[in-house]
């Protein structure tokens, strides 16, 4: 019983964080670990969290866009993996994708539903009632928590036996395929992050990083140091070359040229 409350509290925190993006309780590596802690299966929680983290690391809310929501995905998948259903981590990774899309829909929906609440803040402002502004904002924080906690509670009502039977009713061929897919899904996240940053002049750094990483002796920390070193060198040399031209962003030409280059691939 206490484990159920523990999971629901994690769901509440993850729901808040999925929108405010501060303490990062909604990132799978944190959320799944906490669910694992609550259910007493820390090891499987961490294993799922780490695997799922690699899949979700490219999901980010930029500007007014809403990305798939890792919060609902991480908490519910972790409940199915670390909880009584004991699904394998690969199944958790796959199940997390539809859950993330449901969470994304709920985030969008709440951004609309919250409009009347914000309208009340206008009324409070006209009266100079600061206490009411604070209270309204806290209500919206609670709503964000409930956004994930309520669906989590509903999904937790599904008996563990059903989940298990459902999973093992899948033919062996498909289950093996799911395992392979779970390992492959990370490339989409990698591509999203790369796509966000890539300009023509940054691609060489990508390939240098790739080539160095295929040598298994270099740790990720060592690679990070090389990366930082290269960045400092590049910026120093660049500002030496072009003293009058500081801080110009990537131009449209860069993008077009990149498209052409990739077309050739």
């Amino acid at each position: 019983m206490s484990s159920i409350w523990g999971v629901l509290i994690v769901a509440f925190l993850a729901g808040i964080e999925g929108v405010v993006d501060e303490w990062e309780f909604h990132q799978p590596i944190v959320a799944c670990t906490l669910v694992g802690l609550a259910t007493g299966n820390l090891v499987s929680g961490i294993a799922l969290g780490a695997a799922l983290q690699l899949v979700t690391l490219g999901w980010m809310n930029i500007g007014t866009a809403v990305a798939p929501d890792p919060a609902l995905a991480a908490v519910v998948a972790a409940w199915w993996v670390s909880g009584p259903a004991h699904l394998p981590a690969a199944a958790g990774v796959i199940l997390a994708i539809p859950l993330a899309l449901i969470g994304q829909g709920l985030t969008r929906g709440l951004r609309q539903l919250i409009i009347p609440l914000v309208a009340q803040a206008d009324t409070a402002a006209a009266q100079g009632n600061l206490r009411r502004i604070t209270w309204l904002h806290w209500s919206s924080v609670a709503l964000q928590g409930l956004r994930v906690m309520i669906p989590t509670a509903l999904l937790m009502l599904l008996p563990a036996a059903w989940i298990q039977q459902g999973y093992y009713a899948i033919p062996e061929v498909l289950r093996g395929g799911l395992r392979v897919s779970a390992g492959l899904l990370v490339v989409v996240s990698f591509a999203i992050v790369i796509n966000m940053m890539a300009t023509r002049r940054l691609w060489p750094f990508f390939f240098i990083g790739f080539a160095l990483a295929t040598d298994g002796h270099l740790s990720l920390v060592a690679l990070g140091m090389i990366g930082v070193g290269l960045a400092i060198l590049y910026i120093k040399l660049q500002s030496k070359d072009t003293p009058h031209n500081n801080g110009t962003g990537p131009s449209q030409d860069d993008e077009d040229e990149l498209d052409r280059e990739l077309d050739d691939l």
Binding site: E22, E24, L130, S140, L174, G177, T214
Partner: protein
């Protein structure tokens, strides 16, 4: 005469409204919840107003001015949440001048918020969401997967939050102390350099992560005779380990550039995995 003037000066100074350190700390503690009331079409408006509450309370005891200040900060606002601390700091300094009648109009404050929010978000998104979080979380995940267990999640949680809280407080404080000088500093292009540097590190590390953390194994044997067997995986490893994940990633980038939705990519990769296993090519 001279003595009297001195007294009135002291009185004037006592009347000056200043934000105490505890006011600033209160604003800082509120600033982390800014996005909770994210709504269309005014985005983070209630969140920003909420975090200004301690400052409004201190600076505007009169009801009339308090109402105006509250309404001013309920207007549309949206930026990258961590950069908001810098905007908050500068806004606090301007509000203080406004409250003391030092020639800052309410429109100046509006204009400042609008001009800072877009440019700062564009600079900060690639650094925090595009570089720091993917790298730190991938590093933490790799620690967790290679037998360090709980150390992985702890490294991510502590590392991220120490960086975030330090950055938030430092920029808010700096913005408050420097006021409008911050705007001059920002136009010098320092931030663009920082973003470029972060993007370089980001691209480099993403390149490194692709072969290390994509789990893709080909079936051991594609052809065998009495004398020898031919393994596709070992052949590919001879050529270049991680070549197939690299191609797959590049294809995904290319498709994203052509406005294919990430959801379709996830679906495509999913089917690729299922099909590859079904054909006996992947395992």
């Amino acid at each position: 005469m001279i003595y009297k003037k001195g007294v009135s000066e002291v009185e004037n100074e006592q009347k000056l409204r200043t934000l105490t350190l505890s006011d600033q700390l209160l604003v800082f503690s509120h600033s982390g919840l800014e996005q909770a009331a994210w709504n269309y079409p005014r985005l983070q408006n209630l969140g920003f107003c909420y975090l200004m509450v301690p400052a409004i309370r201190r600076l505007y005891p009169e009801k009339e001015a308090r109402i105006l200040a509250t309404q001013r900060h309920l207007e549309l606002f949206n930026t990258m949440p961590y950069m908001q601390s810098l905007i908050t700091g500068v806004t606090l300094s301007l509000e203080e001048d406004h409250a003391n009648g030092k020639g800052v109009s309410d429109n100046d404050i509006r204009a400042l918020k609008i001009s800072m929010m877009g440019s700062l978000a564009g600079v900060a998104d690639p650094v925090w969401w595009g570089t720091l979080r993917p790298i730190l979380s991938a590093f933490a995940a790799s620690l967790a997967l290679s037998g360090f267990g709980i150390v992985g999640p702890l490294v991510f949680f502590i590392g991220w939050n120490v960086a975030r809280l330090t950055f938030r407080w430092a920029t808010q404080r700096w913005g408050y102390l420097q006021g409008l000088k911050v705007v001059t500093f920002l136009s010098s292009g320092v931030l663009q350099k920082l973003t470029l540097g972060a993007s370089i590190v980001g691209m480099f590390v993403m390149g490194a992560i692709v072969p290390r953390w994509t789990r893709l194994k080909f079936a051991p044997i594609i052809a065998s005779s009495q004398h020898a067997s031919l393994s596709l995986q070992s052949m590919l490893d001879q050529l270049l380990p991680g070549l197939v994940p690299l191609m797959l990633t590049l294809v995904c980038v290319w498709l994203l550039r052509h406005h294919v939705k990430p959801l379709w990519l996830l679906l495509g990769v999913f089917i690729l995995g299922l099909g590859g296993y079904w054909l006996g090519l992947l395992r």
